[in-house]
């Protein structure tokens, strides 16, 4: 199981590079990344469905300027992995509900990780300025690569620990809650999508605003 979790963490970490560090071509967005994880874990249909459910939640969070947004893409990938790993247990609505609460926590922890990573990059800047003094251009590229590797490893460790810890309590929690609240939790998908729809209100407001020079809302 540990090998499987490690492999999932590596994939999550690789996809998360697309969020800000490299390319930024949208493959880290839930509808792409969750589908990809679904494919790797043997259930594309569920992966795609989960990407659909989680996508709207983070769409309203605009990373303008230095504003740090919840790391929803990483959290959604972890959620998809957890749901697919535990799908044998059954109680699908209960699993989604528990994982949704976990997603919120993970997206918050992910934003803290980003905050510290950006602080760490301040040290990289200092090192880079020293290397520039010596005109060692190759070292500048190496420092950039080193910073990216640090991010990759940090997300990988974060994902692995989160998945590992979740696996300690999630199966028993689902088995405990499932028989009691499964039929009530049939509302979980519509409610998550409803919350997501409300969270895109700032960007809809922004898109409707035609006046140039208006400051953009970032949260």
């Amino acid at each position: 199981m540990d090998e499987k979790l490690l492999l999932i963490s590596v994939i999550i970490s690789f996809l998360s590079l697309d969020i800000t560090i490299a390319f930024q071509v949208l493959i880290s967005s839930p509808i792409f990344s969750c589908t990809l994880l679904g494919w790797l874990l043997g259930d594309i249909q569920t992966g795609m469905e989960l990407g659909f459910v989680f996508q709207l939640l983070w769409l309203g969070k605009i990373p303008a300027g230095a504003y740090i947004v919840p790391e929803g893409n990483i959290a959604s990938m972890m959620a998809t992995a957890l749901i697919l790993i535990n799908k044998e247990i059954g109680w699908t609505h209960t699993t989604l509900a528990v994982v949704f609460i976990e997603v919120l926590l993970l997206s918050y922890l992910g934003s803290i990780l980003t905050l510290y990573y950006r602080k760490f990059n301040g040290k990289i800047l200092d090192l880079m300025l020293k290397e520039v003094e010596k005109t060692r251009v190759t070292f500048i590229v190496l420092l950039e690569v080193a910073s990216m590797v640090v991010y990759f490893l940090a997300v990988m460790i974060f994902s692995f620990l989160a998945l590992k810890l979740s696996q300690l309590f999630l199966p028993s929690l689902i088995t405990l809650l499932g028989p009691i609240v499964e039929s009530q939790l049939v509302m979980v998908k519509p409610v998550i999508i409803g919350i997501g729809l409300a969270s895109i209100y700032p960007i809809l407001k922004e898109a409707f605003s035609h006046s140039a020079g208006n400051k953009m809302e970032t949260n």
């Binding site: 930024q24 589908t35 509900a97 990059n121 520039v132 005109t135 509302m187 922004e206």
Partner: protein
């Protein structure tokens, strides 16, 4: 001593490729300046003859700089041309480069945020969601993902590359090329795509809920209204999301 211009289209293409790492090493002191400086590496050898010139070049560009990651390409093009002019004429226009970059920070940030983060990205993703929801079978759903990728990345790649070329070709009157009005047609197009996709999504998703379990449609509408109203009171995303979810969980226990 006058030198000939040395930067070719292929050099600009290499800068374009490097620009995909624009936000690598983002930090709170100089924001995107490290990624921005590294974009120059494919052309630095052509712009600077001596190690001393390279040192000054990099120190100049490692200073604070920020912009939208795609639209920073305009600043890249302008900087390359100004650096080239400095190398050609041996004139001291380093201060002009600094001033130009400072002036570009706000318009490039506002343009990119408004066009990409607030319009094209949600429009593309909502289109993807609608297609995934409505299209039957996995092959068509995969096609939907491919179309979503293209809807977003065609303008993304275009502006990234176009920005470098236009910045390079028109450094002194770059303001004409980054006016809000110039992007208005594209923004409006994606804005209408966003609205249409949102309406189709609401109607189709709402109808599917109504058809299967009408009470879920009520939960969907009320959770949206509740979360929207809650977010007017509190800016805290986590509190709004968790609060709404727990409220409707309690409602489900009572009514379902």
């Amino acid at each position: 001593m006058e030198k000939k211009a040395k930067i070719t289209r292929f050099d600009l293409f290499k800068v374009f490729l490097a620009s995909f790492f624009m936000q690598a090493v983002w930090n709170f002191r100089s924001l995107i300046s490290i990624g921005f400086s590294i974009c120059f590496l494919p052309v630095i050898g052509k712009l600077c003859d001596t190690p001393e010139a390279k040192r000054k070049f990099l120190q100049r560009h490692l200073k604070f700089f920020n912009a939208h990651p795609y639209f920073a390409s305009y600043a890249l093009g302008v900087s390359i041309r100004l650096e080239e002019m400095m190398a050609e004429n041996d004139s001291q226009i380093a201060e002009t480069i600094d001033r130009f970059k400072d002036l570009l920070i706000s318009p490039l940030g506002a343009l990119g945020d408004r066009l990409f983060w607030a319009t094209i990205k949600p429009a593309a993703l909502l289109c993807g969601m609608v297609m995934i929801f409505l299209l039957p079978g996995l092959p068509l759903k995969f096609l939907a993902l491919g179309i979503t990728f293209l809807i977003y990345n065609i303008p993304h790649f275009y502006y990234r590359y176009r920005g470098i070329v236009e910045g390079y070709e028109h450094p002194m009157d770059i303001h004409r090329f980054i006016r809000q009005q110039r992007f208005e047609r594209v923004r409006k197009f994606f804005f209408y795509v966003l609205i249409v996709a949102l309406l189709i999504f609401l109607i189709s998703y709402g109808y599917s809920l109504y058809k299967n379990q009408p009470i879920l449609l009520i939960f969907f509408i009320l959770s949206f209204l509740y979360a929207w109203f809650f977010s007017r009171i509190s800016n805290n995303f986590y509190l709004v999301s968790l609060g709404t979810f727990l409220f409707f969980f309690c409602a489900a226990i009572l009514f379902l």
